[in-house]
């Protein structure tokens, strides 16, 4: 499986990608929606972990844009603090179990990744 991590906090996504790598999960990271859209042009990802409050594009808009380019890709959202509106909208789109609050537990994230890939 190949995972794309998208969060504007570079020190967060880079460490998260490395920790997933240590656990045998191929994870790459980018820090903006624009970079994410460029990256999926060249590589195929099975799942994207998106920050809800991503600058400029926002996590939900990025998901829509990615869906057009990558049919079949699964999604998990991460947030530092979620508004009720975000929670409702994202829960409707991907299920509330795939709406994670930072800081995330690595084992919990891996569990969600596997669940999403095999059941979403």
């Amino acid at each position: 499986m190949k995972i794309l991590l998208v969060d504007d906090e570079e020190e967060l996504v880079s460490a998260l990608a490395e920790r997933l790598g240590i656990r045998g999960i191929d994870a790459e990271w980018v820090v903006s929606g624009k970079e994410a859209l460029l990256r999926v042009k060249d590589e195929k990802f099975d799942l994207a972990v998106l920050d809800v409050k991503l600058p400029k594009l926002g996590g939900r808009k990025l998901k829509k844009a990615l869906q057009e380019k990558c049919p079949g890709m699964k999604y998990i959202f991460m947030t530092g603090h979620g508004s009720e509106d975000d929670f409702q909208a994202i829960s409707n789109e991907v299920g509330e179990e795939y709406y994670l609050f930072k800081p995330v537990d690595i084992d919990d994230l891996i569990k969600k990744i596997k669940e999403a890939l095999y059941s979403q």
Partner: protein, 218 residues
């Protein structure tokens, strides 16, 4: 009068809530970075226990990232503390430049989310305004929020601080997306109530693509 007081109270609560939510989000981000990097250190020790060599430079690098985030969190908490205490004094002598810089610091995440760069041009001399710090910050925030919504494609906002005969002024320039229709919507009831309370005035010009906030020295 009582309805104006209600509007000012509501506006203040909204302002406080918005800034608190933003700060809690930033603290959560910092905690998340510390969490991942501390986790990474833990992963390294587990790998070392299994006989894989530990690279001291790698450990040093991760540790320094954690220290950077601790300093970042300390600054965020200090700003939150300063912000919370602005409500303590009914009237204080405020350096207008410092007040504007502080509101811009508080608004940093909102600007970043919208992809907007804010530039501050300070006055040549210190401009002092004697007023209620919290309500002045609220009014500047409301002007800034409106200005950020009308920067258009330029995405750069300039805040030019100056001295006037009766006090000081802040010009929010570079509002490329400001049309006559949008200019007619500002100030709304909230800004009008705060302007009255602070004895301030506001001009909005769609032609000049700017809004100017005039403040009395006392």
């Amino acid at each position: 009068m009582s309805s104006e007081i209600n509007i000012i109270g509501e506006s203040g609560l909204q302002f406080f809530g918005k800034i608190s939510a933003s700060i809690s989000h930033e603290i959560n981000n910092v905690l998340a970075i510390i969490n991942e990097n501390a986790g990474l250190l833990d992963d390294f020790t587990i790998m070392a226990d299994k006989g894989m060599p530990l690279d001291p430079n790698r450990l040093k690098n991760v540790a320094s990232k954690i220290l950077v985030q601790i300093r970042r969190a300390d600054e965020i908490v200090r700003n939150m503390n300063t912000f919370s205490h602005t409500i303590d004094q009914i009237k204080a002598d405020l350096d207008l430049r410092e007040t504007v810089e502080f509101v811009v610091t508080l608004a940093h995440r909102f600007a970043s989310m919208r992809g907007i760069t804010i530039k501050i041009k300070p006055p040549e001399n210190i401009v002092t305004i004697s007023t209620a710090a919290f309500f002045l910050e609220n009014l500047i925030w409301l002007c800034l929020d409106f200005a950020m919504n009308v920067t258009g494609s330029a995405k750069t906002l300039s805040l030019i601080i100056g001295k006037t005969e009766s006090g000081g002024r802040i010009c929010f320039a570079g509002l490329e997306g400001l049309t006559s229709e949008l200019a007619d919507t500002f100030p709304s009831d909230r800004e009008t109530a705060l302007l009255g309370m602070l004895k301030a005035e506001l001009t909005v010009s769609a032609e000049q693509k700017e809004l100017i906030l005039y403040l009395q020295a006392s």
